[in-house]
Amino acid sequence: MARLLRGFSMRRALALAHAEVLHVVRDRATLVQLIVVPIVQLLVLANAATFAIHSSPIYVVDMDRSTASRAVTNRLQASDYFRLVGYSSSPGAANEAMLRGDVSLTLTIPHDFETQLVRTHTSVVHLDVNTEKGSAANIVQSYAVQILNAYAAELGAEIMPRESRTGRIVTVARDWYNPTLNYKHYMVPGILVALVTIVGTLITAQNIAREKEMGTLEQLNVTPITKAEFIAAKLMPFWVLGLVDLAAGLLVGYFVFGVPMHGDPFLLFFAAGVYLVVALAIGLWISTIVETQQQAMFVTFFLLMIYLLMSGLFTPIDSMPHWVQLASELNPVRHFVTIARAIIVKGAGLREIARPLGILAVYGVVVLTLAIRQYDKRSA
């Protein structure tokens, strides 16, 4: 590192950085990429990327047509989670609705439902869960079971008034950090990380590939500008832009989606500063192995896809197989996702994020060194 910084001239770096800012400001395609794309992504993705369940369509096949079966149906219908789209006494139509994918759940109440309840205090119902909806299916199922159990408990209390008081265990549930179970509070910080990553990596890779294509890079390579100066000048403007994008995204998140900021914003920006060095250095490294902008876009896209999917951004890392979890330790995006959620959603401080932040710092130094080594003013 020290060797790389020898003879570093701030003036040279600033002259190039200034030109870089002018490129960005004057090129409409880059501006669109930096401003429009991130905002559209944030707005659409925050709304689209949700596994939340509300008014999920269900079908009730009621073969019993009794007071009890109707009570169960009413319970389901009254809940916010479900919307009754069909009610019949035979399974034919229900099955078709299921095959068409119109319903997420079919509840079949057998003809002896009430009789059995009265006679044996136990009755059986059938739940057909449409699992093509993925993880939503588990949640839908658990909501339905909860409603049925609640009904049973109530019925029990009604039929058999408590005779002797025996001790009971009462569970009280608390949802920390996201009491309204709002998916946006989870997704927005993640999307912001994705945006900062894409801006940092893609723009850097593309920018240098473009200079290669146009021949201006060769012109710079015959000047006395040093590697460190060139890289500092290239990275500085995008580093700033990444932070600006983050700030804009946080504001949109706060004002449009009501995502609160529980932690210290300065800590977040500090961590983002460290993270951006990693993202930019990866972009720089990509630009050294490609010849054209198109290749830069493809390689970046490919790498980012792997990084983002393995970051726990959309789905929890804990659900992934063990080896994927281990591999994801090498993924800088994962660590910044952890940091961003810890600070924004949980209000964590420096002590709580020390580990991922430390890993990012190490990562930054390593990748930057590799990229600088790889970047050669002279071809072999």
Partner: protein, 367 residues
């Protein structure tokens, strides 16, 4: 016809010579299947549990033993007071905490209600709810065993998972993945390759040649149709071998629907190239107009029903939405055209409209 063959040859050579792009094209579907297969999962497992037990006694120890016995929970901390919990959650060391009330066993023995507080990290609401339900079930089971109450009313639920009994997410994303791969190969690559010819000026040379416009289009896009088809087959084979994704319906029908979707995507690619002049702009337009909607609004990863009404409406005009529905129908449900004709019709209409529009946009450029 010879001219057309020459063009086809040229296009194939372009693709074969650009090694880096070719590598991405080949690796993309293969890597995507593995990635999505292993990462898009939401199972509740290996839950990190913190226990706050101010006065351990036989009952609390009994409940704690229950949790260890499930195999789903891993106890990361046993504390005497709740004050340390916040930090554990912020560090992501714990995901769930159970907090026993003081003198838990005594309270229970007195015949009073003893309280267990279940704190969940609900940052990700669904996993949070899932873990919470699991904890509740364990506690209630213990309670039921502790004091069986005669005459309790029970409604037993017999659950049947339709279409995906093992609830493997890989079964669900493979159809979406095919839409994704086809969008990248057909829409994006077509748009880029046509714009590149414009940028380098070779398009004018082609237009000045005796080739008819439709021949130029076919020459340019045919290789990508082939690559698209090969990718689909690669995805299917891999999904079968690694994740045992079923194929319950007709493969022929699936490939036919794939062809419809390829036509739709290709037309979109041609339309984009007609309206853009540089590869960078084409790339961005293709991302915004085809790839992002396919990823986000097709129901591939995120269920459409969970989206706001406005986005649900938007999803109707997204071809991938219908294609995903069709492929899931064929692969998971084994349904045929009897059920899938509306989606097929919509895809067909889209293909016709977009093909006409793209042919026209190409002709306009000629004049």
């Amino acid at each position: 016809m010879n001219a057309l063959l020459g063009l086809l040859r040229k296009e194939t050579l372009h693709i074969l010579r650009d090694r880096r792009t070719l590598a991405v094209l080949i690796l993309l579907p293969i890597v995507q299947v593995v990635l999505f297969g292993y990462t898009i999962r939401t199972d509740v497992k290996d839950v990190r549990l913190a226990i706050v037990d101010p006065t351990p006694d036989a009952t609390t120890l009994g409940i704690r033993a229950r949790f260890s016995a499930t195999g789903t929970f891993r106890t990361v901390a046993v504390l005497h007071s709740a004050s340390q919990l916040e930090r554990l959650f912020q560090r992501d060391t714990a995901q769930v905490a159970i907090v026993f009330g003081p003198q838990f066993g005594e309270t229970l023995a007195r015949g009073d209600a003893a309280q267990v507080l279940v704190i969940t990290d609900a940052t990700e609401p669904n996993s949070g709810t899932g873990r919470q339900n699991y904890v509740n079930a364990v506690v209630q089971e213990y309670a039921a065993q502790l004091a069986p109450r005669r005459g309790d009313i029970r409604i037993e639920t017999r659950v049947r998972s339709r279409f995906n009994p093992t609830r493997q997410s890989s079964n669900l994303f493979v159809p979406g993945l095919m839409a994704m791969v086809l969008t990248i190969v057909s829409a994006l690559m077509t748009a880029l390759s046509l714009t590149r010819e414009k940028e380098t000026g070779t398009m004018e040379a082609l237009l000045a040649s005796p080739l008819r416009p439709w021949q130029i289009i076919i020459g340019k896009v045919a290789p990508y149709v082939v690559i698209g088809f090969l990718s689909v087959i690669a995805v299917l084979v891999e999904a079968r071998l690694i994740f045992h994704v079923p194929m319950r319906g007709s493969l022929t029908l699936l490939l036919f629907e794939g062809l419809l979707f390829i036509l739709v995507s290709l037309s979109l690619g041609i339309l984009i190239s007609a309206r853009t002049s540089s590869q960078r702009v084409a790339m961005m337009a293709a991302m915004l107009a085809t790839m992002l909607p396919t990823l986000m609004l097709s129901g591939f990863v995120f269920p459409i029903e969970s989206m706001p009404r406005a986005l649900q409406l938007v999803s109707y005009i997204i071809p991938a939405r219908w294609f995903v529905q069709v492929t899931r129908g064929i692969m998971l449900k084994g349904t045929g055209l009897a059920f899938l004709w509306p989606e097929t019709l919509i895809l067909g209409l889209m293909a016709v409209v977009l093909l006409v529009a793209s042919a026209r946009s190409f002709r306009i450029r000629l004049d």
